[in-house]
Amino acid sequence: MSLVIGAFTMGLILSLLSLGMLISFRMIRFMDITVDGSITLGASLAAVLISAGWNPWLATLAAMGGGFLSGAVTGLLYARFKIPELLSGILVMTALYSVNLRIMGRSNIPLLDVPSVSGAMETFIAFMSGGAEKINTLGWMISSTDLATFLTTLFICILIGTLIFRFLLTHLGTALRAAGDNAQMVLAQGLNNKTMIVFSLALANGLVALSGALLAQYQGFADVQMGIGMMVWGLASIIIGEALVGKAGLGLAITGTILGTILFRLLIAIALRWGLNPNDLKLVTALFVFAALVAPSWIATLKKKISGGSRYAQN
């Protein structure tokens, strides 16, 4: 059972990364690869600060701030210095690799026997259950630490999801979405679309770093390599989420992204259980995203061929 609760917790933590990418990739349509670096930045900042005795919540907030800054740098490279969007992200991601090593002082920091954000929930559960190690949750016996981490993550996810939803409906949030939808219109309505891009990327990477900070606390370590391929995982999650609930409406998009990430983690857990070599995981994910990106046009072509349409008729 700990496998399922583990996949759920992992899914919830990574859904914050997916939510960040929902803003950068879907809302302002920016292919932001900073993600691979900023998730590690979040993890390393949180790990170092918690090890130094900071309150885990404060350390997590600081990690978010770090991610916010790195996203802003990517945005500025693109908007101010006119560097192509992919390259802006690659530059910051590469730079962050060194920054993360500097922050941690080595390539890996273990987080054992230090407090984490789920500490308060653990105390609460211990108080309610009289200190039992395993708790009966809906008929399943789950270790109290796992349950505490799961509930804390669920709380953070619901909080962040609601905040993003509310924010996107404000004047600023509406302007942000419009900047991704039609830059010309936004300019004509007196908005600097470049500022909107910088702000959106900062916000997105703040969420990504938050995800990294929680991930480090959950896994019990921060590693300089942990960000590799995270962007593709986020993409896969968003795509699964859209397949689950569609794209109509903001609330659905946010819920779908969270559900998509959880489902994706469950699928991975199942695949690993069935004997998928963990080393092949990133290849499989990349193939999945590739398939999800090309499948719609293939299916459309196939339908046309089946219905006997001319291949030239497409133009």
Binding site: L169, H171, G173, A178, M185, L187
Partner: protein
């Protein structure tokens, strides 16, 4: 009001494709006047409009609006004073967002955009009231994505958005050219209503001679980056479509004459 002084713009300078789009164009537009800019293709009329909108910075010259020197202002900052409607009916609205959300963005033009909820009940009512006059039934579809509307409907909304907060200047860039005749007539009529009702200062580029005669009270004719004719006052009220066509003919003949003189000279001395 709007003072354009000697603006110069050359695209692709020092290349074989060099285009001298604006050659020291000066134009003063009075408050509350409606001016049409007509001209042949490549005459620089759209470039003139874009210079005012801030799409590019002119090589020389200055642009003053409302006694402010806006020559070096970026496009988005000028939009605080200037409302714009584009030729492409899909350029002025964000297709994935709802009608209400699109309009609410224009309701904050030039104002701060904070963390207040954008589309509130009172805002919805205000929007519904104002777009009811379009008689397109859009007031019942406030939550539909604007991308599901027709070009004519979107252009009507763009026009409303450009004038929702009274702009110091309204720029219309062939805003009916890409529409079907029926929608074009409707948008033309709507333009006249809004400009008259709000007493707006407007500058319109058009290819339709009829529109140039019907809507504005001044007509500027451009050719090869210069203003060649200026009908205003009484003269404008007497101008009819054939007069404009005749003016175009005169220009064409002069071009032909210039070219034949050039050929003669080339033959003589070349």
């Amino acid at each position: 009001m709007l003072k354009i002084n000697g603006i110069l713009k050359t695209f692709l300078p020092n290349t074989p494709n060099e285009v001298r789009a604006l050659q020291e164009v000066s134009l003063h537009i009075k408050e509350g006047s409606f001016t049409a800019v007509i001209g042949t293709n490549g005459s620089g009329k759209s470039t003139l409009l874009n210079a005012v909108a801030g799409t590019f910075e002119p090589d020389a010259g200055s642009i003053h609006l409302n006694n402010l020197d806006i020559t070096r202002w970026p496009e988005y900052r000028r939009a605080h004073l200037v409302g714009r409607v584009f030729q492409n009916p899909f350029a002025g609205t964000a297709p994935g967002m709802t009608i209400a959300e699109n309009i609410v963005i224009s309701m904050r033009r030039g104002k701060s955009r904070g963390l207040g909820t954008a589309v509130t009940k009172s805002v919805r009512d205000e929007i519904a009231d104002k777009i009811r006059v379009l008689k397109m039934g859009l007031e019942d579809r406030l939550d539909n994505p604007i991308g599901t509307l027709s070009g004519g409907q979107r252009q009507a909304l763009t026009l409303l958005m450009a004038t929702w907060l009274r702009p110091k200047l309204l720029l219309l860039d062939e805003h009916t050219a890409a529409l079907d005749p029926k929608s074009a007539a409707k948008i033309s009529e709507l333009t006249k209503d809004i400009v008259d009702h709000e007493k707006l200062t407007a500058l319109m580029v058009t290819h339709s001679m009829q529109q140039a005669v019907d809507l504005p009270n001044r007509i500027i004719m451009m050719h090869r980056g210069k203003i060649v004719e200026d009908f205003h006052g009484d003269q404008k009220t007497r101008v009819r479509v054939p007069d404009l066509m005749a003016a175009f003919d005169r220009i064409a003949k002069r071009d032909l004459f210039d070219e034949s003189v050039a050929t003669l000279l080339a033959r003589q001395y070349g």
